[in-house]
């Protein structure tokens, strides 16, 4: 059970075994964050660049910590994709960075397919930290790891993903990941925010959250972005919260041991109420904790050397 790719661009292309290998590796890395000295020298001397074209505190910090705990040298670059900023092309930006002899690139971009575009141009490994509405593989991996840690397995679980599925890369990556690992996924949200053909990714679809909740082992909530209001996907945040928000009343209809997840950041009072977010079923903070471990595992697995000699240990 090995992971032998040279980039991590998405979950869609991964096999069940490859996902399993990453989750297995994560166990060892989770332990490092519990040590007094939270550092191992494995990526010492390697340079990792975090190239973020979209603002992000959470994901970027998580990658940063992962890189530092592996003793890598890291650089954060907050670039701009504003159409009005006539700057360098994406290709030139990446090439310039690579020319500085970097060993790995972690990239987040608002254009779906951008990490793949870069992986084709660059020689170093590329990690997709989120591209447009396409994929966010490390998020899905940490979500799966968190569930496995809490429940002990992934097979046969029923996962519900609730929110703006249309624009969500987290939803897509999780649909791919959980279904490959043997779980069942149902997406739920306003009809205007369900993408056409989502069933072909393996998910069931419903707009009835109340009917869905009692069936779920995992309740994953997505952040609703306020800009969707101005694009007329639903009339108001209040109405959204009314029909699709999860509060203690809705939680009362859920299974006793249902796990509540959210990739963050939370819109308290919109998709989730504070008491649920901070309640006993919530694993939101654990997701953050395991996020660092998962990213350490991914960086480690991608940083392999020559592909010739066998392990001579």
């Amino acid at each position: 059970m090995k992971f032998e790719r040279s980039d991590l661009l998405g979950i869609e292309d991964l096999t069940r075994d490859e996902i399993g290998a990453i989750l297995e590796a994560t166990d060892s890395f989770a332990e490092i964050s519990e040590r007094p000295i939270k550092k191992v020298p494995v990526l010492r001397g390697l340079t990792v660049v975090n190239l973020f074209f979209e603002p992000s505190t959470r994901t970027r910090t998580s990658f940063e910590l992962a890189e530092k705990r592996l003793s890598a040298d890291m650089v954060n670059i907050a670039a701009s994709t504003s159409a009005t900023v006539k700057g360098e092309t994406l290709k030139d930006t990446a090439r310039n960075i690579e020319a500085m002899s970097i060993d790995m690139l972690v990239v987040r971009h608002s254009a779906s397919g951008a990490p793949r575009f870069l992986a084709e141009v660059l020689a170093c490994p590329v990690v997709n930290a989120g591209d447009g509405a396409h994929e966010h593989p490390t998020q899905a991996l940490l979500d799966m790891y968190t569930v496995r840690k809490k429940v002990g397995k992934l097979d046969g679980l029923h996962v519900g993903i609730v929110g703006d599925i249309l624009h969500s890369r987290v939803a897509r990556s999780n649909i791919w990941g959980f279904t490959k690992m043997g779980a069942r996924v149902t997406v739920c949200g306003p009809a205007t925010l369900i993408p056409p053909g989502i069933e072909t990714l393996g998910a069931a679809v419903t707009t009835d959250l109340d009917g869905l909740i009692p069936e779920l082992d995992i309740l994953m909530l997505l952040r609703i972005q306020t800009e969707r209001l101005s694009q007329c996907f639903f009339p108001s945040l209040r109405e959204y919260a009314e029909i699709f928000g999860v509060d203690s009343a809705r939680m009362a209809r859920a299974r006793k041991d249902v796990i509540v997840m959210h990739p963050g950041p939370l819109n308290r009072g919109v998709e989730i109420t504070p008491d649920v977010a901070d309640g006993p079923n919530s694993v939101i903070l654990e997701q953050v904790k395991y996020g660092v471990a998962v990213r350490m595992a991914v960086l480690y697995l991608l940083s392999g050397g020559e592909r010739t000699s066998e392990d001579t240990h």
Binding site: H109, A133, R172, G197
Partner: protein, 431 residues
């Protein structure tokens, strides 16, 4: 100079002709056609056409030549060279140049430049609205007088229905067709590819079929109201095809054209995020492509036109979201039509000539598109069985943005004669 084309299979739908015949050209006109053509006078040049198809010069009625303004992408000279290499004797050039080709001045520029530098004939299409801004009418009367054969805001729809109606009425007065880029901007939004399973999987914003269906329905309704001639450009959906067919049944003067990429590729081609699969209208899903091929078979589509849209390498070499829409097509159009339609038994060679010569000439009111004696000596001789591989590096166009690189095609132009001058001989440009 007299040119005799011997032994070919002459296909001329305008005369219901399909059979072995000889063709004699005298100077810039067709002199004689038929078994006695050889007897009509000694020829200076004899072209052996045995095993080949001899057709009235092919006309690509939807081409972007990028001059003035983007000569780095294409010029009238390079674009018409590419056209001849592709088997065309004439192209109709779209007005979304910089500055926009509108009014007397814009059209005269194109006409003069073409006179000077073009290999194939260039028939200018002028803008409908000033600056293509969709706010006010451009001086289309003056444009028509200066030589514009059609009117279009191609690249954009005319969003304001009231203005679109006025444009159609005015165009009727000038007896010019309005060529519509039918799309509803609100439904297109910031979409970059066809909306469907593939766009969902790739996380790219989608352009639903209905953005075209709704606009075609509107354009047809307005054309009927204005009693004007409407030509729907690059038709791509099953429903649009139905609407056009219905309009014809109701007696409206509506025609439509399809591009080779819309009958050769589906939206699955976008899976690798290659920007040479990004154009408008987008590549559609399988059912629409099947409907288009069916419509081509049953004669519901009037013309094949490439929508040749050159773009520089740097501009296309970007993320999918940001890369400009459009691909080139002059040098692959005939090959794709023969490979994907003729050799797959979707259409006959007679249909093909009608789609690529006869009808475009009728729609644009050109004297070519026929081999009747007295017509201009524009002839395309092609070999329907010639095997070749698409190699963009060998293209005569300045640009290279094609998704067909490496495709094995069957059928190619061999000889092209424009105005009695042999410009392409045995597949090579002679000038």
């Amino acid at each position: 100079m007299k040119i005799l084309i011997k032994g070919g299979r002459v296909i001329d739908p305008s005369q219901d002709l399909d059979g072995a015949a000889d063709l004699l050209l005298d100077g810039g006109a067709i002199a004689a056609l038929g078994p006695d053509a050889a007897a009509a006078g000694t020829a200076d040049t004899v072209i052996e056409a045995r095993g080949l198809v001899v057709a009235p010069g092919l006309i690509d009625m939807h081409v972007h030549l990028r001059e003035p303004g983007r000569e780095d992408e294409e010029t009238i000279a390079s674009g018409t060279r590419a056209a001849v290499a592709g088997g065309f004797t004439a192209v109709a050039s779209m007005p979304n140049t910089e500055p926009v080709t509108e009014g007397e001045e814009g059209v005269k520029f194109v006409v003069a430049k073409a006179c000077d530098a073009a290999l194939a004939r260039v028939h200018p299409i002028a803008a409908v609205t000033a600056g293509l801004r969709g706010e006010m009418l451009a001086e289309i009367g003056a444009a028509a007088a200066a030589g514009a054969v059609g009117l279009s805001d191609d690249g954009s729809p005319i969003a304001n229905s009231g203005l679109a109606r006025r444009a159609l009425e005015y165009a009727r007065m000038l007896d010019r067709p309005v060529i519509s880029h039918s799309e509803d901007p609100g439904l297109v939004g910031r979409g970059v590819m066809n909306e469907g399973r593939v766009s969902t999987r790739l996380g790219l914003r989608g352009i639903p079929n209905e953005s075209e269906d709704v606009a075609v329905a509107r354009d047809i309704a307005l054309a009927r109201l204005a009693r004007a001639r409407l030509h729907v450009a690059h038709i791509s959906t099953a429903r649009s095809l139905e609407l056009v067919a219905e309009a014809k049944r109701l007696g409206a003067a509506v025609t439509c054209e399809a591009t080779p990429h819309h009958f050769a590729l589906t939206d699955e081609a976008v899976a690798s995020y290659g920007t040479n699969t990004k154009m408008k209208p987008p590549l559609r899903a399988e059912p629409d492509v099947a409907a288009l091929r069916h419509a081509l078979r049953t004669g519901q589509v009037d013309a094949i036109a490439s929508d040749h849209a050159p773009h520089s390498q740097e501009e296309k070499d970007q993320e999918f979201d940001v890369a400009p829409f459009g691909i080139i097509g002059l040098e692959t159009s005939l090959g794709l039509a023969l490979t994907e339609l003729y050799h797959k038994q979707v259409i006959t060679l007679v249909d093909l000539v009608r789609l690529m010569s006869t009808n475009p000439a009728l729609i644009l009111g050109l004297r070519s598109g026929t081999l009747r004696p007295g017509a201009p000596a524009d002839v395309t001789i092609f070999d329907p069985g010639r095997d070749w591989t698409v190699d963009p590096a060998a293209f005569l166009s300045i640009s290279r943005n094609t998704p067909f690189s490496g495709w094995q095609l069957k059928g190619k132009a061999v000889t092209v004669i424009v105005d009695g001058r042999i410009l392409l001989r045995d597949g090579e440009i002679t000038v």
